[in-house]
């Protein structure tokens, strides 16, 4: 395998790991809030989180450019202040993968949290636990398998992200060219050997992820 391919693989894994960590940080509290709390704008939040699941990834990527690009709503003040933009950096690949993977984690974890018997939480309340402690000691441990299954799926999705990454991060070899993007480049430039190697690696990784998620899902049920 060429150094470019190895580079792509290491980048992809870095992106996927970081995106999964961000998913855990944002997605688990979000899933809990959607499952257990009533708040203003809940429907809107649910919609926004889920949208990347059904929109073409390029559309999601487009919105990310509008938001974070050098001339974006958040991106332009940032650029004005620091002269730095996230666009076309590997952080952009992380952001794109995070946004694309989030609905998978949130939906899976939310279902797992919703399936926890509410009487268990009520019992914890009568036994002196705050809602916060109850979530940590009762709800989340009991939803653990579903949450892990969601994280595994999110990791797989982040690993395979293509469209939104291309839009926001571009396809810069050695910087933002993840495995899926490198496969595309390799096919475009006729390097089918390189493409085949990367395809095989992604396929095997995805199979492993699906098996793990399936087993966790079965144990959760």
């Amino acid at each position: 395998m060429s150094p470019e391919s190895l580079n792509a693989l290491s980048l992809s894994i870095r992106v996927a790991v970081l995106a999964t960590a961000l998913n855990a940080l944002v997605g688990i509290p979000l899933a809990y809030a959607l499952a257990r709390r009533r708040f203003a704008g809940k429907t809107l939040v649910d919609l926004l989180v889920t949208l990347p699941l059904v929109l073409p990834p390029t559309v999601t990527g487009f919105y990310l450019i509008v938001l974070l690009g050098r001339r974006g709503w958040l991106g332009s003040p940032l650029y004005a202040a620091t002269g730095w933009s996230i666009a076309f950096t590997w952080y952009a690949a992380v952001v794109a993968a995070t946004v694309m993977a989030l609905p998978l984690l949130v939906r899976t974890a939310r279902a797992a949290i919703e399936s926890v018997d509410r009487d268990l939480e009520r019992a914890a309340h009568t036994l002196g636990r705050s809602e916060w402690r109850t979530a940590l000691e009762v709800t989340l441990p009991l939803a653990r398998n579903g949450i892990i299954a969601g994280l595994v799926l999110a990791f797989a999705r982040a690993l395979g992200e293509f469209g939104a990454t291309l839009m926001l991060a571009g396809n810069i070899p050695g910087r933002t060219a993840t495995v899926p993007l490198s496969i595309y480049t390799a096919v475009q430039t006729g390097e089918s050997g390189e493409a085949l190697g990367l395809v095989a690696i992604l396929t095997v990784l995805s199979c492993v992820v699906l098996l793990v998620a399936g087993r966790l899902g079965a144990r959760a049920a």
Binding site: D119, A123, T126, S130
Partner: protein, 375 residues
């Protein structure tokens, strides 16, 4: 005796309105009534898990909730032990960790001692390391009770504590639960829709129907003096009948039913004196209807009162007793569908009288066994 528990709750939900007020003294109060009457909602309000729109909850002079004073203690600070229907044991924790769950603030050694104490007291010794999934139904119930008791609650709430169990175990645990609760001498509220359970467990029974309290009374008073026909029907008392008043005095009520002139005992205490011709509900306990033996000569009116004649039209074998459904000879529509009265006789009596062969009987009802239900 001062009231240990003073409850007034109002809560409007879509399609349901809870509006109840009752008090209880020492011992166990049972909330009894059909499903959906608001019993479990009441428990949730007592525990602070549901916030009532208005009302007041006082336990031993400690105000847990008072809408007019703006008091609403969160469930965490109410010191209310709650045994949930289905027990709600934490499946990922051992028996010991379940029991000790409410003791987190105490020093480790004291906590361990208290857990041990509760486990011993409830006969769960040797099960401390088990998970709830590895326990029998009866053991789970005891763990749930132990978990609630471990925090030394000021008030103990039990929601259908026996409904998850098989019938034989249910009877045994009912008596065990009664003994345990009697030992504890703490205010306790039990919810059930089973009258036998209510009667066995409760010192006071509060009858719920459609979000209202229809009667609150010591258990024996409820058994013999249901406040109304509605209460009698909720208790599933057989032979709840409707007649017409002939004459009412403080001691006696004469009434007409299915062409018979019956005499019932009135209670001077409740001063119920309906005018003549007023409709009147009453009930006759099936086990208090006497069949008159044909080999004992003519009916002696001093021995037998309220004598009637009828035919057994249906019979049901309940193992130790037979229930006979009797249709009076009187022409006209029977008062309970195809029959007028249910009569219960022990197997032995059934055999001696050869009821399987002989279907037509004279029977009598003592006036003290006809219970008038005030309107």
């Amino acid at each position: 005796m001062s009231a240990r528990l003073d409850v007034a709750l109002h809560k409007a939900l879509p399609g349901f309105d809870l509006d109840v007020q009752w008090t209880a003294g020492d011992g166990i109060a049972v909330l009894f009534g059909p499903s959906g009457a608001g019993k479990s909602l009441t428990l949730a309000c007592l525990a602070g898990l549901v916030r009532p729109d208005a009302g007041r909850v006082v336990v031993d002079d400690r105000v847990l909730f008072d809408s007019s004073a703006g008091v609403d203690l969160p469930p965490q600070r109410r010191r209310v032990g709650y045994v949930f229907q289905g027990y709600a044991l934490f499946p990922h924790l051992s028996v010991a960790d379940n029991v000790g769950f409410g003791l987190r603030d105490r020093p480790r050694a004291e906590r361990a001692r208290r857990v041990q104490e509760v486990i011993e007291r409830l006969g769960l010794g040797g099960l401390a390391a088990r998970r709830p999934a590895e326990l029998s139904g009866g053991q789970r119930q005891r763990v749930a009770l132990g978990r609630a008791l471990a925090i030394d609650p000021a008030l103990l709430l039990l929601d259908e504590p026996l409904s998850a169990l098989d019938l034989p175990l249910r009877r045994a645990l009912r008596d065990e639960l009664r003994a345990t609760l009697a030992d504890l001498r703490m205010a306790a509220v039990v919810v059930t829709h089973d009258f036998t359970e209510a009667y066995r467990l409760g010192d006071r029974i509060v009858v719920y129907d459609g979000g209202r309290v229809v009667q609150s009374a010591p258990r024996s008073e409820l058994l013999w003096q249901p406040a109304s026909e509605a209460v009698a029907r909720i208790m599933a008392i057989p032979n709840v009948l409707r007649g017409t008043v002939v004459k009412a005095t403080p001691d006696r009520i004469q009434l007409r039913w299915r062409g018979q002139l019956l005499e019932a005992v009135n209670s001077p205490a409740r001063a119920y004196l309906p005018p003549p011709e007023a409709p009147l509900a009453f009930f006759i306990r099936p086990e208090y209807v006497r069949l008159i033996r044909k080999d004992r000569g003519l009916t002696d009116p001093s021995h037998h009162m309220n004598v009637m004649q009828g035919t057994v039209v249906e019979e049901m074998d309940f193992g130790t007793t037979w229930t006979l459904r009797i249709r009076l000879d009187e022409p006209g529509a029977p008062s309970q569908g195809a029959f007028d009265l249910e009569v219960e006789v022990p197997h032995l009596v059934y055999e001696i009288l050869e009821i399987d062969r002989d279907r037509h009987w004279d029977f009598s009802i003592h006036r003290g066994s006809i219970h008038v239900l005030p309107g």
